[in-house]
């Protein structure tokens, strides 16, 4: 309880409240830009947070994350183009409703569902994080090594359709992280004689390059990411009718938020899965399933409440285990590390107020999101009209200067471009980027724990198969690695049987 009170006192300072508001607005704006999502936004903003306090940076990121999740629904509703992948299911009913002459109602539904979803998930995580971290605190080096492998394996299997490409991406990330000096003897390995690579492969240029600059490459030559006119909004009466639509359906909203939070807590499951699962569940249990896809308010609620519910859930593995469950939490984790705080089970032990402040900030972002969206909905709608030919050079320069500012080193800007080209090639050819980022982040932790484990066990790997936690983690790893190919095979066999019939 003391930690929560301390977290509240951390948040309720003028500076941090301004960061919360600023982060929300930046999040909504970037979410409303098709092609950009919460991960891109956080990656671009990573260097800016260097000048902030640790809690300030995390509060800022929590607000950007929540804001971007909602912002993605604006172009989804108004012009049939989801701003973020998570808003994909919102298009199904949001756009038909807007096309039917009620764009403000759809925006109102989306906003209140997002706010309630985000708030409920934050409250849930607030209660769950302590028991989760108390379990995690019992982990020794062997268990932590298993946690690293577990994090990587889950992400590899869940993201992307091709397990082989996912594994390659993860291994490449781990190997890049192992370019630096060996942790046991400090002997430089593949550092090319550069001091900049001696300690660590810098996260900032790597993340900005992989997530933000590589995305810019795929926008070259485009005028606008959308067609249509999203600026015909501003009817406040209709907007509040939409808000009431959500309030009239409390059970659906709570259920969708919980689905989002639970799926968000599974590392790598991601927002898209959560929103479609929630949408499908709402349709299945609805009295009017035939209205889904025709502009049903329930469809928008199910998608948006789950979309923002994910933000809270994704904090659980990040804060309790130090495993980022998504691209955005990977960037948040990098921000924690940049401020000298080592993520993992000890985060809740030694920095409990900091952890609680992120969760509370995520909940509070729902209120700031409501306020700014209600006041500035028309302006936010126009954001998606910014021409790419103007946006691209500005964002690119911002990314370059940000990478330079991180360590005052031009070398980092070269790394940024290398990672950007790599990220672009990987995306174009179907390699998921998240395993690579996880490899970069979890790699040093995995290697250090491997050495510690081997020292403790005098070189025997048998320690990894001892103790209930290790065994449970092994089972989860094997199940998660096999589940996707097995399911694929089952579907193939069923498809063949159906075809034969």
């Amino acid at each position: 309880m003391d930690s929560i009170v301390e977290a509240l006192s951390m948040i309720f300072t003028l500076q941090n409240l301004l960061l919360l508001c600023g982060g929300t607005v930046i999040g909504i704006v970037t979410g409303a830009l098709p092609g950009f999502n919460a991960t891109n936004a956080c990656a671009v903003m990573l260097p800016v947070t260097l000048a902030m306090s640790t809690e300030g940076a995390l509060i800022f990121f929590a607000a950007v994350y929540a804001g971007a999740q909602y912002g993605g629904s604006i172009p989804a509703i108004l012009v049939n183009t989801p701003g973020t992948p998570g808003a994909g299911a919102t298009v199904l009913d949001g756009y038909p409703m807007a096309k039917g002459g009620e764009p403000d109602r759809a925006l109102g539904i989306s906003l209140v569902a997002s706010c309630v979803g985000g708030l409920l998930a934050a409250v849930l995580v607030l209660f769950l994080i302590r028991p989760m971290s108390q379990l995690a605190i019992q982990f020794g080096p062997a268990e932590m090594l298993m946690v690293s492998i577990f994090g990587l394996s889950i992400i590899v299997t869940v993201i992307g359709n091709d397990v082989k490409k996912g594994l390659m991406s993860g291994l490449l990330g781990l190997l890049i992280a192992a370019m630096v000096a060996d942790p046991a003897t400090s002997t430089p390995r593949l550092t090319f004689g550069r001091l900049e690579l001696y300690d660590e492969v810098p996260f900032v240029p790597a993340l900005i390059g992989l997530f933000a600059v590589s995305e810019l490459f795929s926008m070259i030559g485009k005028d606008k990411m959308i067609t249509g006119d999203p600026s015909k909004v501003g009817n406040m009466k209709e907007f509040f009718v939409g808000c009431m639509d959500v309030i009239k359906r409390p059970f659906l909203t709570v259920k969708s938020a919980l689905i989002g939070a639970v799926i968000g807590a599974i590392p790598g499951a991601g927002t898209t899965i959560a929103t479609y699962v929630s949408y499908a569940d709402a349709k299945r249990s609805s009295k009017n399933p035939e209205q889904y896809g025709q502009g049903s308010p329930e469809g928008i609620i199910a998608s948006e409440a789950a979309n923002n519910g994910v933000t809270g859930g994704a904090l659980i593995p990040m804060l309790a285990l130090g495993i980022p469950g998504s691209g955005t939490t990977a960037v948040m984790l990098a921000a924690v590390m940049l401020h000298g705080v080592r993520p993992g089970p000890e985060l809740m032990k030694y920095f409990a107020p900091l952890s609680y402040s992120v969760i509370i900030a995520m909940g509070l972002a729902s209120f700031t999101m409501f306020f700014f969206s209600a006041v500035l909905s028309k302006q936010f709608a126009k954001v998606s009209l910014i021409p790419i030919r103007i946006l691209l050079p500005l964002v690119l320069v911002f990314c370059i200067i940000g990478s330079f500012a991180y360590r005052n080193a031009l070398f980092d800007t070269y790394l940024l471009m290398i990672f950007a080209v790599l990220g672009y090639l990987m995306k174009r050819t179907g390699y998921p980027l998240i395993p690579l980022v996880l490899g970069l982040i979890l790699g040093p932790m995995a290697e250090a724990n491997l050495y510690r484990t081997l020292q403790l066990s005098r070189g025997s790997m048998a320690i990894l198969f001892q103790g209930p936690i290790c065994i449970i983690l092994w089972i989860i790893i094997v199940v998660s690695l096999l589940s996707k190919p097995v399911m694929k095979q089952i579907r193939k066999i069923r498809g063949k049987e159906a075809g034969a019939a």
Binding site: A51, L171, T187, I388, F404
Partner: protein, 146 residues
């Protein structure tokens, strides 16, 4: 549905193999005890890269769906222009190179009106300088023209 070029599809596994090769060459002769972990990773990565390489070579006529198509020439131009910008920025300085780079990229992408072509880069350079240098005390690259 468009054909994805074989060169593009082979790029990632080839890059992975080159990276593994460089790693092996650079660490040749080092104490093997400290290289067990990276070498295990290299082993896995080489196997998967070769596997993917063979797969891709086999299905060179397979059609793959692409969401967007950016001509490779445009990517090369953008990377080359950015490379030039990175080379010039510590020599000439932040303001002149950034103004030229942003205005040049806007022009290249089709912005022709003189007003946005001048005002947007100037405004952006100023705002970025204010954010990084004045508000956040973060460094920006310097050259002989600041």
């Amino acid at each position: 549905m468009k054909l994805q070029s074989l060169t593009l599809r082979l790029s990632v596994p080839v890059l992975c193999l080159l990276f593994c090769g460089t790693y092996l060459l650079a660490t040749n002769g080092m104490n093997k005890a400290i290289l067990r972990y990276p070498y295990a990773l290299i082993g896995g990565l080489v196997v998967l890269s070769l596997w993917t390489l063979i797969d891709e070579l086999r299905r060179k006529n397979t059609k793959t769906e692409e969401e967007t198509e950016v001509p490779p020439r445009n990517i090369v131009i953008l990377v080359a222009a950015t490379g030039l910008y990175l080379v010039l920025i510590p020599i000439v300085g932040y303001f002149v190179t950034t103004l030229a780079f942003t205005a040049g990229l806007m022009f290249w992408q089709g912005v022709r009106k003189p007003l946005p072509l001048t005002l947007i880069p100037i405004g952006f350079c100023g705002v970025q300088y204010l954010i990084f240098q004045v508000l956040l005390y973060l460094p920006i690259p310097r050259g002989f023209l600041m």
